[in-house]
């Protein structure tokens, strides 16, 4: 669907849609729901536990180089394989 088509469905202009897509404008929650429905979907929102450690670690990692992040993974894998990893993913 083009920006112009979506704009027509929700009563906005194409430039307004472009600004939302590019992140220049942060739409209200109600506007997001409206846009999602105009695209033929519905928005499911659910609560999940807050993992403050993960945010803190991500903050640290983002200041590191990719090589350092990879080294962190390999160190984490060693712990993971010893059964004390802090959670993981298989993909």
């Amino acid at each position: 669907m083009s920006q112009r088509q979506l704009a027509g469905r929700v009563g906005l202009s194409q430039p307004e849609i472009a600004r939302i897509e590019s992140g220049v404008v942060a739409p209200s929650f109600e506007r997001v729901v409206e846009l999602v429905r105009a695209c033929g979907f519905d928005l499911a929102v659910r609560l999940v536990p807050l993992d403050e450690d993960a945010y803190s670690l991500a903050e640290q990692n983002m200041s590191r180089s990719p090589d350092e992040r990879l080294a962190g993974l390999l160190a984490g894998l060693e712990l993971y394989e010893q059964g004390v990893g802090r959670g993981g993913s298989d993909d």
């Binding site: 993992d51 991500a58 200041s63 090589d67 992040r69 959670g87």
Partner: protein
Amino acid sequence: MTDLRPAEIFAVLDRHEVRYVLIGGLAAILYGAPHVTTDVDIVPEEDRRNLMRLSEALTELKARIRVAGEPDGVPFGHDGVSLAKVRIWNLVTDLGNLDISFVPSGTRGYDDLRRDLRTVTVNGIDVPVASLADVIRSKEAADRERDRAILPVLREMLERERGDRRGDRVRGGREGPRARG
């Protein structure tokens, strides 16, 4: 389980000039996600010649099919034609687990992911990595329990990355994620 050596897997793919996009948990980790993954997930271009190069890379990696109860995997023959016939390959190699998917959940495959890919240099090798937004899109579509657990952090990282980019544009600076704070 074979130790995961992602940088060496990237080097083999690079040496054989395989065109692919890295996605999944390792892509997220290269952006800074604080999680653990045990495999490398790639989305190869489906072009026959590219899959022939991928097949040669798999031969060098001594790739076998990953099967429960068979820690060393099951050997299999492959070429550019046979690789295209199966949409998902879960493999074990001498350098760790390698998963190949032509159309990961929530995406339309290589051409879709390559549009926004980022080149990340790992151990001197340029690795084509799916954008963080595409990694999130794929994990949202897969909707597995372990994906749901890490998605809030990935979304936060994406917001920070976008915020930094907006800041860079205002300052006339460079593109790309940077550290905050």
